[in-house]
């Protein structure tokens, strides 16, 4: 049994296509070149959205090279390609629907929302014990004096 499996394995290994070290090194050189290209493109003066598009395109080319050559999907089993492409497709779906939502949002009101009414201190109900003010002090400009201090004024 052991010898038959070893023979079958050796046979399969012999039939298995592999990437030569020269190809791996060439791929690395191309990847370094593309990194330089990403850097170069980022230094060109153009609108920021073009920069974003160029950076993503070059990154996609680099990822394809890494996946096909370093990760052996070029010669690998088809099922592994399906797994990786599916996960990438799900990433794109998530990205597309979220960005479609964020990109098409609009202001819900068709007029300016009126500012919050300013509460007049004189209109406050009298007889409240210190620190029991019904309107929080300093609400509009962040953490302000504590309600205890406000009650003393």
């Amino acid at each position: 049994m052991a010898s038959s499996t070893t023979t079958a394995g050796a046979h399969a290994a012999a039939a298995h296509k592999e990437t030569s070290p020269a190809k791996l090194i060439l791929n690395w050189l191309v990847l370094c070149g593309l990194t330089g290209a990403t850097f170069g493109v980022s230094q060109i003066h153009m609108p920021v959205n073009y920069h974003l598009a160029a950076a993503i395109c070059i990154a996609c080319v680099k990822v394809t090279l890494v996946v096909l050559i370093f990760m052996h999907l070029w010669h690998g089993e088809g099922i592994n390609r399906i797994v990786f492409l599916t996960s990438f497709l799900f990433l794109l779906l998530l990205m597309f629907f979220v960005m479609a939502d964020v990109g098409t949002r609009f202001t819900l009101s068709n007029s300016r929302i009126p500012p919050m009414p300013v509460v007049d201190q004189k209109m406050m109900p009298t007889g409240m014990p210190p620190g029991m003010s019904s309107v929080p002090q300093g609400h509009s400009d962040g953490p302000g004096p504590s309600s205890g201090e406000a009650g003393k004024q």
Binding site: G9, H16, C32, S42
Partner: protein
């Protein structure tokens, strides 16, 4: 030890017909896991694009304050470590365990270099007060959304650095097995799978580098 100079492969689990069958299953399992990793990072990338849409000026300002030199150096380090891992896989597949060992150790060293550079960058950010959320006190970013950029920056690069640490541990583990000459043309799946994980770490950085440092 066989005549060729490597250890006998571990016994084949009874539910596999051949060793190649077993290796293909191990590879398939690893790819499924990598699929889940892609989805983990997908959430972070979507977060990046959403917040970038809300706060474009602060993302541009903050991006200019990251060290382009260190980011580019880290990119080259990771690309080169991916090459050495791919070469280690090739050597392990041909039973050249000692070559594979040294190539894997070179990859681990480059991973450590990457983390050191990242630590330098983080230290600089801590001194500047370029920090996430309520810890933000960096006066040079005036547009709204600076603290949000650093949430995205620290979370994405932090999770990536965690993956680098896990990847280095896996590579060290398979390197010690290479030193013991465990791999041969019929059994090299651990080197291949640890390598696949390392390449994924590289893939994530290929996207993070331009999005954070260049755009």
């Amino acid at each position: 030890m066989t005549a060729e100079g490597w250890l006998e492969p571990p016994p084949l689990p009874h539910h596999y017909e051949t060793i190649e069958n077993h290796q293909a299953a191990l590879r398939f399992g690893m790819w499924l896991f990598l699929g889940t990793e892609v989805l983990l990072f997908a959430g972070i990338f979507v977060g990046y694009f959403v917040f970038r849409t809300y706060f474009p000026e602060s993302f541009e300002q903050a991006g200019r304050h990251l060290s382009l030199f260190l980011g580019t150096l880290n990119t080259f380090l990771l690309l080169t470590s991916s090459l050495t891992v791919a070469l280690a896989h090739h050597n392990a597949e041909h039973g050249k365990n000692r070559n594979a060992f040294w190539l894997l150790m070179a990859s681990v060293a480059m991973g450590a270099g990457f983390l050191c550079i990242k630590a330098i960058e983080y230290t600089e950010k801590f001194h500047e007060g370029a920090l996430p959320g309520k810890f933000f006190s960096f006066s040079e970013i005036t547009a709204p959304g600076g603290p949000v950029f650093y949430v995205v920056y620290f979370f994405s690069t932090g999770l990536h650095a965690l993956h680098v640490i896990v990847g280095m541990s896996l590579l060290t583990w398979v390197a010690t097995r290479c030193w013991r000459k465990e791999f041969s043309p019929t059994y090299y799946a651990p080197v291949e799978n640890a390598g696949l994980y390392w390449h994924l770490v590289d893939l994530v950085w290929i996207f993070l580098y331009p999005l954070l440092y260049l755009v």
